[in-house]
Symmetry: C2
DNA sequence: AAATATCCGACTTCCCAGGTCCGATTTCAG
DNA sequence: CTGAAATCGGACCTGGGAAGTCGGATATTT
């Protein structure tokens, strides 16, 4: 149904939360989990993964926790999702680099690959900072115009 | 992982196939299934569903089968996917009409809803006819420019 | 040394996409 | 009018992956 996993959701939520608290040097997985009512152990794994891919920096021990490795503006939603869920493809046939194994007739995937890239482009254009933007004041404070081109 | 179901894939492939054979009055599910190496019974269900939603017209009995209910240009990929997989949402939290049940704090879903609509827009701009376009002659025969606007 | 963290692999549970089976109905051909 | 070929539609089975849990090892501060 074209939805991303909860882990990816959690990851985005966590990064957003971190972006909203730049004053604190580090926030523990439990802190974030409590803030959102997320299973702590699961969130922990997600954050570990994000650390491994270089989006977060971690610090063990007391008063340890996680912090953004870069400016929130420099982290895209795409990176987060990719780090957690791995490379995503719209078409269910394409697995990794291989094309449709036994059905070379699947000419559908070609145009859908364009769609896939378009979506990736949209996701890449959204940064954590955009997500953390203070509650949409029903106005145009942080509005941002992105233009996505689609060529079939 | 943000992929659409095989059923949706099958549906798109089938519609494309029908669009490529406008001469024949009707093609059976088995015909299409054989052409792509798809499980016939499964494809049958998909086609039944598409019939139910008005994208296809069916005819039982000998020499029966399915045919496009409208011109291929008038059927969007979005309609097909929606008919098969139901309404799709990027966020895993949103279920139907309800928002995140116990976590009103999930402020993530709001910006992602925009992304969701953007994707829907892309899918809506693609017709079955576009998919059936004769094998991309590496040229610009059937090229089509779609422009998708994204506002955060 | 005790408390608080991250770290990481293994494990369980549960849901659903993917696929199958079968029976009923409709339609046409000979 | 009978049988073949098709759609229709429900019930069912199954494997794999998402979601979550457990436990232990390691790091760091007080």
């Amino acid at each position: 149904m074209l939805k991303l996993t909860k882990k990816a959701d959690y990851g985005l939520m966590a990064l957003k939360y971190l972006a909203e608290h730049p004053e604190t040097p580090a926030l523990s997985a439990k802190d974030v989990a409590d803030a959102y009512g997320i299973p702590p152990q699961l969130l922990a794994k997600v954050l570990q993964r994000l650390t491994k891919t270089g989006l977060l920096r971690s610090h063990a021990g007391m008063n340890g926790g996680y912090a953004l490795a870069r400016d929130a503006r420099e982290i895209s939603a795409f990176e987060v999702i990719h780090a957690i869920d791995g490379p995503f493809f719209i078409t269910s046939c394409t697995k990794g680099t291989k094309s449709c194994e036994l059905t070379p007739s699947c000419t559908i995937k070609e145009p859908l690959a364009r769609v896939n890239e378009t979506i990736a482009g949209v996701l890449k254009s959204i940064s954590i900072h955009d997500l953390a933007e203070r509650e949409h004041p029903a106005g145009k404070s942080g509005e941002h115009q992105g233009l996505v081109e689609l060529t079939l």
